[in-house]
């Protein structure tokens, strides 16, 4: 177990190194931060001086080395716009985004397993055909369109749910204030979560369905029937557990992907998370913030994948984490 963790840690460090290199390298192609920083009226000499001061004239490797040195100490640069450490800016926005992802994840897990299992057990029923049909639509329609459609229906026409912002939140600890403790917070997070889940949910229903159908064909399921086990137990114990093994692996990657998808959802719903912040940072050519965002998202990816691998080891008895380190 320990050897495995050390190995994973090294892998994670290597991945983070590559991510930092790539995100730092693209900042040169994002436009001139000086233009946003100082405006039209400043002379060319002052601009050059400022560039020197910010270290923008140094060779790439020098700049990257400086960045990496600071990054290791937890300093990802200072946002040009907020005049605050980029990491602090992101950490303030992170809870809103993570809560949105959590909301979407709850919806996905809560619906994809029963719907996936149902459509696998009764593939020819009208209900299954309906679910599969809707899921195709869900996958095909882009998130921002789903979001705008839902705002139109539930906020504008029916006036059931708010269309933007986080509403009433309760401070928990540090920068973390939560939506999940007030009714108003729940109402505000519902539409964005559904919008964010709209792409992944159909994907998971289909994944679970196809894995489940394959598992139901297996010899051990037939054997369970031959032992006289009740169908309910065969579906939810014998088949589902085997079905979820590949789903868990894919799921971990998708949670990471969802963090990236929040950019669209947060923009449409004016959700004050880091996706919305990232889009603003791009508009303002706030390069340190952009780079910091990419690194934080990369970090979230690496962490979720490691957690998923650990969970996989717990669910699948044939994987022994203690032996994986060797």
């Amino acid at each position: 177990m320990f050897a495995y963790l050390v190995k994973r840690l090294f892998q994670a460090a290597a991945v983070m190194f590559v991510i930092s290199l790539i995100s730092f390298a693209i900042q040169d192609n994002l436009g001139d931060p000086l233009r946003e920083l100082v405006g039209q009226s400043v002379s060319e000499e002052t601009r050059d001086e400022l560039r020197d001061e910010l270290g923008l004239n140094d060779p790439f490797l020098v700049q990257y080395g400086r960045f990496l040195g600071n990054a290791v100490r937890g300093d990802l640069g200072t946002s040009y716009f907020f005049k605050e450490p980029a990491l602090t800016v992101i950490l303030k926005k992170l809870p809103a985004t993570l809560e949105l992802v959590a909301g979407a994840t709850i919806i996905i897990i809560g619906l994809s397993i029963p719907l996936g299992v149902y459509t696998a057990i009764k593939p020819n029923s009208i209900m299954s055909r309906l679910i599969m049909g809707i899921s195709i639509v869900g996958i095909s329609v882009p998130v921002f369109l789903t979001a705008i459609g839902m705002i139109f229906l539930f906020s504008v026409e029916l006036r059931w749910l708010p269309s933007f912002g986080r509403g009433d939140t309760v401070d928990v600890i540090g920068y973390w204030s939560t939506n999940f403790l007030t009714l108003d917070g729940w109402q505000h997070i519902l539409l964005p979560s559904v919008a964010l889940a709209s792409i992944m949910l159909p994907l998971f229903i289909r994944l679970i369905r196809s894995e489940m159908m394959e598992t139901l064909q297996s010899e051990y399921v037939r054997y369970a029937y031959a032992k006289g086990i009740a169908p309910r137990r065969i579906w939810f114990v014998h088949a589902l557990k085997n079905t979820l093994l590949p789903v868990i692996t894919v799921g971990g990657v998708q949670i990471g992907t969802m963090v990236a998808y929040t950019i669209l959802t947060e923009t449409v719903f004016q959700w004050p998370g880091m996706g919305f912040m990232f889009l603003e940072a791009v508009n303002r050519v706030d390069t340190p913030l952009i780079v910091a965002y990419l690194i934080v998202v990369g970090f979230i990816f690496v962490v979720t994948n490691t957690i998923v691998d650990l969970i996989y080891g717990l669910v699948n008895p044939t994987v022994k984490l203690s032996r994986m380190g060797a």
Partner: protein, 328 residues
């Protein structure tokens, strides 16, 4: 009354455009405590016969007509709960490949306890005690520790012993063993068969042994059914079928045994291959491979003829028998 009575069983497979007949009017009886063997080539319908008895045919297969009477009740007419009550409880099945039969993510204990609890009101610890006792019966060392183990931690032979133990859990009246040793090492095959025979005899359980191994059949069973292209072509006491087979196909099978050929000579075989179920020839299904085939064989399906203890479906055997009787 016999324990199991199969009458005119027809099993079909619904294909895209047509239906294929996999079992064509199969009839046989099984007495309490009797052990019979079903022999034939791959695809002859041996396994389908076994799965039909549990009404567990996988799609697109289905029982078209006929009856399967088990202990006085017709299995083909049963509802799902009634079938569930019989499966694993009064009729147990042993599958072919122990490597894929047990669920990889459930422990041996879970898989044994659930079987007991599906049929009897038992606490987990009581069920585990029964499981341990049965594991001991199949000579599994340290049975208490096995309960917590997963299938992948055990060898193939060990797994098949556990599957035999599961089959015995609820003291069934009948065990259907579908080629229980084909997936195993040759050295273990004999052990498993010996164990199965011993347990069937000591527990007075009837056995249907599905196999292509005539040697195994001769050791294990009292009666044998030879199946060819979905029909029983010869049935009778195992000893007689092995020593004096009447049907040309059974004769071919016996002659093909390696011990029937002197050392150094080429092994005998039956020419040709069994037809696909979708292309069974008219008349006797065996006629294209049979050296005695006549025009009658190519036109009409042979009726079953009783010759002493044997039942044979062959025109030539029948004709031969009739002329003999006339001569007497």
């Amino acid at each position: 009354m016999s324990l199991l009575s199969v009458r005119d069983l027809v099993v079909k497979f619904a294909m895209r455009n047509n239906t294929v007949t996999a079992l064509n009017k199969i009839s046989f009886d099984l007495a309490r405590g009797e052990r019979i063997g079903i022999v034939g080539e791959s695809g002859a319908g041996k396994s389908i016969t076994g799965f039909s008895i549990l009404n567990l045919l996988s799609k697109p297969g289905y029982i078209d007509s006929g009856s399967i009477t088990f202990d006085g009740e017709d299995i083909t007419q049963m509802t799902d709960p009634q079938l569930r009550d019989i499966r694993g409880n009064r009729i147990a099945m042993i599958f072919q490949d122990p490597m894929v039969t047990l669920n990889p993510v459930l422990t041996i204990g879970q898989q044994m306890v659930e079987t007991l609890q599906a049929h009897r009101r038992l606490s987990k610890s009581d069920a585990e005690q029964i499981a341990i006792a049965k594991l001991r019966e199949v000579y599994i060392p340290a049975p208490e520790e096995r309960l917590a183990q997963y299938p992948h931690e055990l060898s193939g032979g060990m797994r098949q012993r556990i599957i035999i133990a599961i089959a015995l859990l609820l003291d069934p009246q009948l065990i259907i063993a579908d080629e229980p040793t084909t997936a195993l090492d040759v050295t273990i095959q004999a052990d498993i068969m010996e164990l199965l025979l011993e347990l069937c005899q000591s527990n007075k359980v009837s056995l249907i042994l599905i196999t292509h191994d005539l040697g195994v059949v001769s050791q294990m069973t009292e009666r044998t059914l030879v199946v060819y292209a979905g029909r029983i072509i010869e049935a009778g006491p195992t000893r007689e079928i092995i020593n004096d087979p009447q049907h040309p196909y059974s004769q071919g099978l016996i002659n093909a045994l390696p011990q029937q050929t002197p050392r150094g000579e080429k092994l005998k075989q039956i020419p040709g291959a069994m037809p696909a179920l979708s292309a069974v020839p008219d008349g006797c299904a065996f006629n294209p491979r049979c050296s005695f085939a006549t025009d009658t064989c190519r036109k009409t399906v042979p009726e079953v003829t009783r010759i002493d203890h044997l039942e044979v479906a062959c025109h030539e055997v029948r004709r031969h028998h009739e002329t003999e009787e006339v001569a007497e």
